[in-house]
């Protein structure tokens, strides 16, 4: 038996669930096919940073618009996803780095946005008293913050379900066939048909795109994170660094989560990723350089989240260039969590209206046309 739907979403991560929710709210019959369980990979286990600060200029407009959804997440999904607007801080350790931040702030202001602000060393120490004494200043965004990734993703899934979307967990996609007026999606357990298929398959989105005839030059990221034991509260905002790959955040439970993009090793076939200790040690060293107090903290666990990366490290949010009815939303390259809520709206626009007024022009699927092979 073939199950009919108005839209099929492949991937039960934050982007898939967010798209499913927006489509269901517009009255579409939506089926989400998730090979394992909701939030199993990057969506459920990322560092949880909700950040407009320091983004690629192409992402800034969408990211800034997207922030509104986080501040009103309870209204949207009935739960705040653990979001706290604790602010984000990007630290400069030298005057050169600080000058770079000033230049960056100007560039963002020239786009007409004022959210990023540069502060001096005194202000930095007032906000982050535990910061190493050599730090000279920082860039801050006050409305940014952090959320609980698994909780947020689960909240989107739950709300999508209550809006009528069917989320089928344990259903992996093995085939895709073009049919008159739509697509037949072949799952491990069942078959599904709809005019539109949304590819939100995360690390595996390249494989999904291939099934539709689109080839993108993607790599797989396996960004590592570690978490320490609980410590007394000593840092409020999420702290990053100009010169080091680092994101540093103390959770409400008191544990400290350290990420920043150091890479482990991923295996897409086995759906697993492994920590690379030498690289993880670099994260630890970076954290200790900015927060000397953290050297004494015990590490509880380390892990990797896997994700697709594009050559220019910004996502693809677009119709397929050659497969009508396929909408791609992937390739967030390790920083797609904050964009999840707003991208659901963009995808729903693409599906229901064919286009969107949201600023997603830079995320065209055609920009890799030169590298893509003909279908």
């Amino acid at each position: 038996m073939i199950r009919e739907a108005d839209a099929i979403v492949v991937g039960g991560g934050l982007h898939g669930c967010s798209a499913a929710l927006q489509l269901a709210l517009r009255g579409l019959r939506v089926v989400v096919l998730e090979r394992r369980h909701v939030g199993r990979h990057a969506s459920g286990i990322n560092a949880g940073g909700v950040r407009t600060l320091g983004r690629d200029l192409a992402e800034v407009p969408l990211s800034v618009l997207g922030m509104a959804y986080w501040h009103r997440l309870s209204e949207l999904v009935g739960d705040d996803g653990g979001f706290t607007p604790c602010g984000q801080v990007k630290v400069a350790e030298t005057h050169d780095e600080l000058a770079g931040l000033e230049k960056r702030a100007l560039a963002v202001r020239s786009l007409g946005m004022e959210h990023e602000r540069v502060i001096d060393g005194d202000e930095l120490r007032r906000r982050v008293p535990a910061i190493a004494s050599h730090c000279v200043g920082a860039m801050v965004v006050d409305g940014d913050g952090a959320a609980d990734p698994y909780r947020a993703t689960s909240a989107f899934a739950a709300r999508a379900r209550s809006a009528g979307a069917q989320i089928l967990e344990g259903e992996g996609v093995v085939g895709l066939e073009r049919q008159p007026g739509g697509w037949l999606v072949v799952g491990e357990r069942g078959r599904y048909r709809a005019p539109v298929v949304v590819n939100a398959a995360g690390a595996w989105a390249g494989r999904m795109a291939s099934l539709a005839g689109d080839e993108f030059p993607l790599k797989t990221r396996a960004s590592m994170m570690l978490v320490t034991e609980r410590m007394p509260p000593f840092v409020e905002p999420v702290v990053g660094s100009v010169g080091r790959a680092l994101s540093f955040k103390q959770s409400s439970a008191g544990t400290v989560i350290i990420g920043g993009g150091q890479q482990g090793r991923a295996d897409l076939d086995r759906e697993q990723a492994w920590v690379n200790v030498a690289n993880l040690a670099r994260s630890a060293r970076a954290a200790a350089a900015l927060f000397p107090v953290i050297r004494q903290a015990r590490i509880v666990r380390s892990w990797c989240g896997i994700e697709a990366e594009t050559p220019d490290r910004i996502p693809i949010i677009d119709h397929s260039p050659r497969a009508p009815g396929i909408v791609h939303v992937f390739g967030f390259s390790g920083h797609g969590f904050q964009l999840g809520p707003v991208c659901g709206v963009a995808v729903a626009d693409l599906v229901t209206r064919g286009s969107t007024t949201l600023p997603i022009a830079p995320f065209s699927a055609r920009r890799f046309a030169a590298a893509a092979k003909a279908a």
Partner: protein
């Protein structure tokens, strides 16, 4: 950053690891042994050299003194010992990361033998988190290392050879205990009859067990059999112990309560490496899948001793030797034929020492309520998660321990689910009507041992030339 690569890196200095190191050296392999204790011996022969030097080893029993021979042979074999080093990560291919508590180092092996022994099965009863309640194994460590003897108000509750062994050890050391609450529900004569062959072949072990019982009777230690539903009660610490036997609830004052329900393989390391594991229904635990030489399905990684399958010290010693043969053959140092020739007598010894295993598994199988505790009982002490919360997560759609972890934080604490893992798997399996194999286990992530961030950063400090 790295020491020279060894042919074989052995992790764990108990009987399996010591025997493997000596055997591998005899075959001409270069060997490193990484052990977290200051001196080799493992749990079973912990501090055996010091105990001998201080004249306490004999009181601890002939079995304990057997370890001296192993330790002495190891010291003479020419292996490099990394004592007081905790191995906290093993990468497939043979990279072992270990810390001495100040800095981490990389120890590379062409083969790595995981010989990290057993851990005590969790005993989630009502009140087990109260101060004054600890495991028999922990109490035994205190006794073996600093000679601490429990006071006369301490009860021992549980089953398995270790409870009797430890009680007899305490009596021999001149100590007193309030009594033993024996929770074994297999009945001795019937179980013995069912495993008659094994009991006859393993008569030395049976005789030893009966010897413990005789010694305890002579010392007039109170022993209650057929005990169920042990509970620790008290305000702020254990003050009373309550149990049911013969359908009657009973209660007694207690200054402490020592729990033990047998041991299970310590699979944290092999799970973190990614070795395949199977559920062992007889021993109610997961164990790594291996061939007869302890080779796992992951290249270069071998397993020996109780972390592979519970067999006791003498079996572990044999398995260590077999693994050394397997490693040597896989490195091309000896031929497969030579390996098999040398393995023959060792395997015969395994079968002799292991004869009693079926009987013990049957006699001391843990009670169902301990594997799958009632709703109000604490399962994850680190995060304060009860069995009821796990069932609630199951009813909300969680199909495995890792989802339960994301949902409830169960197993997210510093012990990484070492204490609660088996209980979570069993409780979830029961709630979902699935087998433990289907439900699976917590994914284990490095570090396998508590590691300070500075100890990890040291690896990068060295690289940056600091």
């Amino acid at each position: 950053m790295s020491d020279r690569p060894f042919d074989l890196v052995v992790i764990g200095g108990g009987p399996a690891g010591l025997a493997a190191a000596s055997q591998a050296r005899q075959l001409g392999l270069s060997v490193a042994l990484v052990d977290e204790q200051p001196a080799p011996g493992g749990q079973i022969y912990r501090a055996v050299e010091r105990a001998e030097a201080e004249g306490r080893a004999t009181a601890l029993g002939e079995d304990y003194r057997h370890g001296l021979g192993l330790v002495r042979a190891f010291h003479e074999c020419g292996a490099t010992l990394f004592a007081s080093h905790q191995a906290w990560q093993v990468e497939p291919g043979g990279r072992v990361f270990a810390t001495d508590g100040k800095a981490s180092r990389l120890i590379e092996g062409r083969r790595v033998l995981v010989a990290v022994g057993a851990i005590e099965r969790p005993v989630p009863i009502r009140g087990w988190t109260l101060p004054g309640v600890m495991s028999v194994g922990a109490a035994q460590i205190l006794h073996k290392t600093i000679g601490l003897v429990p006071d006369a108000g301490v009860w021992i509750a549980g089953s398995g050879p270790l409870t009797l062994h430890f009680a007899a050890e305490i009596v021999a050391a001149g100590g007193r205990i309030a009594g033993i609450l024996d929770t074994a529900h297999g009945r001795l004569p019937e179980t013995a009859l069912r495993h008659l062959g094994g009991v006859v072949r393993g008569w030395r072990y049976v005789a030893r067990g009966l010897g413990y019982l005789a010694r305890l009777r002579m010392a007039d230690v109170r022993r209650v059999s057929g005990v169920e539903n042990v509970e620790a009660l008290g305000e702020g610490r254990v003050e009373r112990v309550r149990w049911r036997s013969g359908g009657q609830w009973q209660e007694a004052p207690a200054s402490g309560l020592l729990l033990h329900e047998g041991v299970v393989p310590n699979t944290h390391m092999t799970m973190a490496i990614g070795c395949a594991h199977d559920w062992d229904e007889a021993q109610k635990c997961f164990r790594p899948r291996t061939d007869r030489f302890g080779m796992t399905d992951v290249e270069a990684i071998l397993v020996a001793g109780d972390c592979g399958s519970i067999g006791g010290a003498r079996v572990a010693e044999c398995r260590g030797r077999l693994a050394a043969l397997g490693a040597a053959a896989s490195l091309g140092v000896i031929s497969a034929a030579e390996r098999d020739r040398l393995a023959g007598p060792v395997e015969a010894e395994v079968s002799a020492h292991g004869a009693l295993r079926g009987f013990l598994d049957d006699l001391y199988a843990p009670a169902a309520e301990l594997c799958v505790p009632p709703d109000d009982v604490m399962v994850c002490r680190c995060e304060g998660i009860t069995a009821g919360r796990i069932r609630e997560a199951a009813s909300l759609g969680c199909r495995g321990p890792n989802q339960v972890k994301s949902f409830t934080r169960c197993g997210m604490g510093p012990c990484q689910g070492r204490m609660c893992g088996p209980t979570v798997t069993a409780t979830l399996a029961a709630a979902l009507g699935m087998t433990p194999q289907e439900v699976g286990a917590f994914r284990i992530r490095p570090p396998l041992k508590p590691l300070r961030l500075g100890e990890l950063a040291a690896l990068a400090d060295a690289e940056a030339g600091e």
